[in-house]
Structures are given as C-alpha cells and as structure tokens.
C-alpha cells in the first residue's frame, strides 16, 4: 500500500460489511448495515443508546453470528469465522465493560495476549516467563499504555483509569491490523482521559482504529470519519464536520450533537 492519506477513496477497505443483519427474537437490532473502513486513521461509530453499536462490534469480532449479510476483512470473507480466528487475522477488540484477567498481573495480562505466547499455548513445560519474545513485547506494550512500573501489580488492584488502559493494552497485544475500541473513555476522569487520547492518537498513525464513543469532543477531534448508527441503520457518514451539521443526526441525538460546539460544551 502506498502512503495514501487515511480514508482516501480508492484504497481497499480493511473491513467492509454488506447488508449486515441481526435480530434478537423479533427485535431487529441491525437492519442491513453497510460499513467500510479504509486503512489507517481513526473512524468513529456513534449513535444513541440502543442504536446497535456494540452488537455491530460483536458481529465484526464473531462473538455473535450474523443473521444475514457479509463481513470482509482485507477482502477475505470472515462472516462465519469464530472470534479466535478473527483475532488471529488481526481484528482485535476491547470491551465496553472491563474484561480483564483480574487475578493476573498487568504483565501477565498482556503477555497471554501476545501472538508469540499464543503460538506456544499448548506448551505445558516451559515457564511462561521464559518465553522471552512474548515477555519483551508485553513489557513494551505495558510501557506504551503508560503502565510502566506497574507490571507486577494484579489487574484488580489498578485504578479504574489504569484498568481502562490495560483493556486497550490487551487488544493491542494481539498485533492488530484493525483495532475495535468499545467506549474506551467510558467513566474516565480528566487525567486518564488525556493519557488515553494521546495513546489513541499515537496508535491511529499506524493502525486502523474503529471506536464506539459517546464523548463527542473525542470523536470530533480525533476521528477522520464518522458513521452514525440509528435504530440499526446507518443514517449518515462522512467527515466529522459534516456529521455535526447533519440534520438527521441532530434529530437522532436530540441536541446532544446539536449543542454548542463541543469544545465549549466540555468547558
């Protein structure tokens, strides 16, 4: 791939869906969703509560089976692949509700998610700490997410903000080509929020990131492309500036987006 700017038209999408459908009982959650994420940069998936964003992630990562439609990753049909197969291809996710290995240390959490460790998953004899490739990579990721010095702390004893960062660290450890972050800033205070923004910004320079996010300041300042989901359908997509002024989006959000320019809104 040449050095096309993120999201430039014409490049092969990293991830593409066609007519994605999902219903729970009679309740249709996703009703023919077409998505397309170009390589590089940060795209945002937004929409009011219940719009189907997390369901969409669960379909993309294989945690739920699609009722209809197709998912392609770098041109390959992955619609029927189980979650671990998709993770191995490079589709890595974080969870909206913290989902960590709480009893294990920060380093162990990340280490078990590193592909070189995964490749030796059935090794019953070597001490896990002696798999040096995995150990080194895990240590680098721990520093990258700003948890350097806390390697030996059990995940349950981290602060909430640090746990949020570790949540991303676990997704990053899998050497993703596509990183799906489900509300990474949820519940964060000012300081950890800044750390997280910097981290995501830094990552988006070399990865394709799709983020579900409610913080509009985060979405509008960091993303290059926004997709708006409402009642299981894509109602708008485009660059953040266009989305902010999109009438249908304003209506769907009932003022959340229509409020004064987001920078000021945050105070």
């Amino acid at each position: 791939m040449t050095d096309t700017p993120p999201g430039s038209p014409g490049s092969t999408p990293v991830l593409e869906t066609r007519g994605l459908r999902k219903a729970f009982g009679g309740h249709v959650v996703l009703d023919g969703v077409d998505l397309s994420f170009e390589p590089g940069g940060l795209s945002a998936l937004i929409g009011p509560n219940g719009a189907g964003k997390t369901t969409c992630f669960n379909l993309l990562t294989g945690f739920l089976a699609a009722d209809g439609g197709e998912i392609r990753f770098k041109g390959q049909d992955v619609t029927r692949l189980p979650p671990h197969r998709r993770a191995r291809l490079g589709i890595c996710r974080s969870f909206q509700i913290l989902n960590l290995f709480d009893d294990d240390t920060v380093l162990e959490n990340v280490r078990v998610a590193v592909p070189s460790m995964r490749a030796r998953g059935f090794d019953c004899w070597t001490p896990a700490g002696a798999v040096s490739a995995a150990e080194d990579r895990a240590a680098r990721i721990v520093r990258l997410i700003g948890l350097g010095g806390r390697e030996r702390v059990a995940a349950r004893y981290l602060s909430y903000g640090q746990r949020r960062l570790l949540e991303i660290g676990l997704a990053l450890a899998g050497e993703p080509e596509l990183l799906l972050l489900d509300e990474p800033t949820s519940g964060l205070g000012m300081r950890p929020m800044e750390t997280l923004r910097e981290l995501v910004q830094q990552l988006s320079a070399r990865l394709t990131i799709v983020v579900i996010e409610h913080d509009m300041d985060f979405v509008l300042t960091l993303s290059h492309h926004v997709t708006v989901l409402h009642r299981g359908r894509v109602i708008a997509e485009g660059p953040p500036a266009a989305i902010r002024d999109h009438p249908e989006v304003r209506e769907a959000y009932l003022g959340r987006l229509g409020a004064p320019a987001p920078r000021e809104a945050r105070g």
Binding site: D103, V112, W125, A128, E135, R152
Partner: protein, 345 residues
C-alpha cells in the same frame, strides 16, 4: 541456582516433600502408614482435578469415574497380560487419559451448569457400566487379587515400602503439575477461568484448551486410581459413585484449590484424617463431618489456604519463579503489588 530450584520446586513444595518423606518415622507407631499412603494417592487425584476446578474454573462432578476406571484398567492389565507393575500403571494412566479425551469431546464446549450436568451424566454412565460389564470388572465383588508385587527387592505388600512407592509418584506428579501451571498452557487455562470471552478475543480456541485440560486431569485421576487399586489389592466400583465424585470437589474447596497450588493436598489431609478421627469418636461421624464442611463452604469459601492468603496480604492469585526474581529487584514495590514473601499459589 536459586531460580533454577524455584522453577522446579519452590520452598513450600520442598517442605511438603520433606514432611511426607519423614512421616513413616512416626505413622507406624499409630498404625497410620496406610492412611498416609491414601492421603498421597488422593492428593495426586485432587491436584490433577484442580487443574480443572481451580485453574480452569470447570466444576466437573463425575471425576470419580476416571479414578475408578484407572483402577480397573490396572487390574485388568495386571491379570490378563504379563502382570508386573509398570505396564498396568501405564495402562491405567494412558487408558484413562483416552477415556477422558473421549468424554472431553462432548463436554469441552459446554459451559456452567450444562458442563456440570454432563459430567455427572458421564460419571453415572461409567458407574453403571461397571455392573453391565461385570465379567470384566467383577461387578459387585470388585476386581480382586491385584498384586502389589515387589520393587528393587522390597515387597510392596508391606505398608512402608508401598508408602515410599506412592511417595515417588506423588513427588513426580507434583513436580509435573507445578511445571504445567506455570507454563504458557497454565497461563491460558487461568485466563479462561477469569474471562473466557477475553481469552477468545485474544485468539485462543478455548474449547480446545478445555478439552486438553479435562483430558490431562483424567490422566492423573487414572494414575491415582491405579495406585489405589494396588493399595487395596483390588479395584472396586465405590470410588466411582456420585458421592465419591463429590469428595474430590470438596477436598479441593476445603483446602483452597482456587487460592493455592497446595490447596488440594491440604484438603485431602483434612478430609481423610478428619474422617478417621471422627469415626473413632462417634457413630454419628457423618453428621459432624457434614456440618463441618458446610461451615467451611459458608465461612471460608476460598478454603483454608484462601483464608491464610487473605490474612497475609492483599495478593493476586499466583506467582512464577521469573516474576519473583524480577520483583526482588524492585527497589520500592507499589502499594498493592504482591508482597515479596509470596511464593505458593
């Protein structure tokens, strides 16, 4: 040097080995040598079972079946082939492993209550098969006439030599299991217990790991069952009953199998010794026994070593030699990191 030793056997394990090594100097005086042997046999069973319960978080309730199968396989091999000790023990272990592998194909994809129910169903099925195939198993009468034979000139019929014969297996199994729980495989099964969905999200085919760990634990159950058949000079159906299957779960829980590698061993000691002591004190020992275990489950759900752990420090679940070495180098450990003294798991 220290780390090499720690990689194989950390201090608490060496202490445990030393204790069991010296026990025959006192036990025969009380006539308890056989009880000591039984403790080690059930420790092998419980340690292997704890891979499943404590490490992977899979509550299998029919594991007594595999213990029993090990006994029958040992007996049948000894009676109908060349006899001896080596081949029957290999057959008990490997054969039970295969039975486990087959059952695991059915249970590895089940979760929660469905997993437990299915393991019970298989346990009951094997229990009935003992009576259906009574020409092989001896049915109600059991498969008697199993011979302990002799090793290195020592007649294993005598309790002290047999104690040390079992001791060697106990040490070997403990060392192997310690390697397993600290290996990448050990990390993965622990990850599955803590969050199966996350384990899948980071690329693990968790069903395959559950299959493997179930199979492994059955291998250890088969070995223990084989040794038990030698100990009792016969293989019987009784360890395969549902209530006996429940005992190994209790042993792991009481000792603290979720909190410590050594939990199952302590649980076995408490369980078997208490049974012996209580049954000499009162005819209603079952009642006292039941009340006691209810109290443990109610007031110490993490088991004895879980409570010990909690009182000592706000610690994580486990440790490895490497982690320990690295931590020792840390000048000022953060507030909530594990205390340097922690070793076991």
């Amino acid at each position: 040097m220290g780390t090499v030793l720690a990689r194989w056997a950390p201090p608490p394990m060496l202490a445990m080995f030393a204790l069991f090594l010296l026990l025959p100097t006192v036990l025969p005086r009380f006539g308890y040598t056989y009880l000591g042997t039984e403790v080690m046999i059930f420790a092998i069973f419980a340690l292997g079972y704890n891979l499943l319960l404590g490490y992977t978080g899979l509550p299998a309730f029919g594991h007594g079946a595999f213990f029993g199968i090990g006994g029958y396989l040992l007996g049948m091999t000894q009676k109908w082939t060349t006899g001896g000790l080596a081949l029957p023990l290999v057959a008990a272990t490997a054969g039970t492993l295969l039975f486990g592998a087959a059952v695991a194909l059915f249970v590895a994809r089940r979760r929660g209550i469905y997993f437990s129910l299915l393991t019970i169903a298989f346990g009951v099925m094997f229990w009935f098969m003992v009576f259906v195939f009574d020409t092989w198993t001896g049915g109600e009468d059991g498969l008697t006439g199993i011979n302990r034979l002799a090793l290195l000139g020592y007649a294993l019929r005598d309790n002290v030599p047999f104690y040390y014969f079992v001791y060697a297996w106990f040490v070997g199994v403990t060392l192997v299991l310690w390697r397993i729980v600290n290996s990448p495989f050990g990390q993965v099964i622990r990850a599955i217990r803590q969050s199966e969905s996350r384990a899948r999200a980071v690329g693990y085919d968790t069903a395959r790991y559950k299959w493997a760990v179930f199979t492994l634990s059955c291998g250890f159950a088969g070995l223990a069952g084989g040794l038990y058949a030698l100990a009792r000079f016969g293989a019987f159906a009784e360890p395969m009953s549902l209530s006996q299957s429940g005992n190994v779960v209790l042993m792991c829980l009481i000792g603290g199998g979720f909190a410590s590698f050594y939990g199952p061993v302590l649980g076995v000691v408490v369980f078997l010794v208490l049974r012996d002591v209580l049954s000499t004190l009162t005819d209603h020992w079952m009642l006292a026994y039941g009340v006691l275990f209810m109290a443990v489950i109610l007031f110490m759900p993490e088991g004895i070593l879980g409570v010990v752990r909690r009182l000592r420090q706000p610690a994580g679940f486990h440790d490895t030699g490497a982690a320990h070495a690295a931590r020792a180098e840390e000048a000022a450990p953060p507030l909530h990191s594990r205390a340097p003294g922690e070793r076991e798991r």
